[in-house]
Amino acid sequence: MAKKVKSSFINMVLTLTIITVVASLALGSIYNLTLEPIAAAKKAARERAIKLVLPSFDSLNSLMVMIPLDPSLTGQGNGDQDSLEFHRAFENGKCIGIAVSTFSNQAYDPTQIQIMVGFLPDGVIDSTVVTQQKETPGLGTKMTGDKFNGQFAGKNPATFKLFVTKDGGQVDAITASTISSRAVCDALRRAYRTFESYEKEGGTE
């Protein structure tokens, strides 16, 4: 049993100062040490996601594309970003599809959800993969599963209504997670809207 150290103003201030300084030094150095591996891991994860949502390709060209305003949501803007990251994929010099990194701020958890969606040149969704979400475990997290994501593959948003059935669309929502399902639809609509306007300006040639 250690005997207790008597508390005086000096030693209390000193102890707390030393502990916080040591803790900040430790955190600072760990942050610096892990900065590069974390960036590398994120880049690898992004590339893995692109490979998942598009047919095989040999080179990639990334650019930022402005999100056009949604005419049905006047004055609401685009969330907290004004552009999406487009990854154009080429096979033997021919564009075989575009992976769009899209997002939604309307999920159940305040954390933004991020989705990588692969469009073929004609606008058909090749497949989608959720790259970031913090939804309720066991409920909203099902948005990452094949059962929910699978329904988007091979659909063209020009004819396939990207709203949950409850809102008059054609997307089967996750049981008890309508909000999460709506957020996914919101993200996909934003991606398609941006893809469409990009195409109009002569995107995929």
Binding site: A23, A26, L27, A41, T136
Partner: protein, 194 residues
């Protein structure tokens, strides 16, 4: 009390969730499936062992009146370090457990063991206490998660054993309270008879 008893007390006799009722917030929040319970439990165990070891090493330098803020800074630093290191070197594991890591800071089990045990005991005892309490916590969370997943989703560790609709309420928040209540009653019954 020998070290074996020190290690095993966390499982039933002084189980954090069923008996001490410590750390209930993450317990109720994340146990919607067995794998979530297991993940949260293991992450907490790691932080518990590490913070117990540090707290017991510095206990003789810390004035009594500022011990709690000191312990909290130590625990929070550990949690942040764990989060950064996992993100950098085990990104797949971080994808599964990542959302639970920040929750560990507010888990009163960790502070409770630092204050109630590690600040008074030897290095070895504190380490074993952290491991025992942590694994006991893991056991409780996995049990709770398994029961909720079986009733609410008809599966265990993501392996389906029943088809058709399950009782969804067990996966929702009220289910956590209902299952926890029955499990506490069961464990109390077991403790009385043995």
């Amino acid at each position: 009390m020998n070290q074996w008893q020190n290690f095993t007390k966390g499982f039933i006799k002084e189980n954090a969730v069923f008996v001490l009722l410590l750390g209930l917030c993450p317990t109720l929040a994340v146990t919607s499936s067995a794998i979530n319970g297991l993940g949260m439990g293991l992450a907490t165990t790691f932080v518990l062992v590490a913070s117990n070891m540090v707290v017991t090493s510095v206990k003789s330098f810390i004035p009594d009146k500022v011990r709690i803020p000191s312990f909290i800074v130590i625990i929070a630093s550990f949690v942040t370090i764990v989060e950064l290191v996992m993100q950098a070197y085990t990104p797949t594991l971080f994808d599964t457990l990542g959302i639970f890591i920040p929750l560990i800071v507010v888990n009163c089990l960790v502070l409770g063991r630092a204050e109630g045990f590690a600040s008074k005991q030897s290095f070895l005892s504190s380490m074993i206490d952290g491991l025992g309490m942590g694994l006991g916590f893991t056991f409780a969370l996995t049990l709770l998660g398994s029961v909720r997943e079986m009733l609410g989703n008809g599966s265990i560790f993501d392996v389906k054993f029943a088809t058709g609709d399950a009782i969804l309420i067990f996966i929702l928040q009220p289910g956590a309270f209902i299952v926890l209540g029955y499990l506490i009653a069961l464990i109390n019954k077991l403790r009385k008879t043995t």
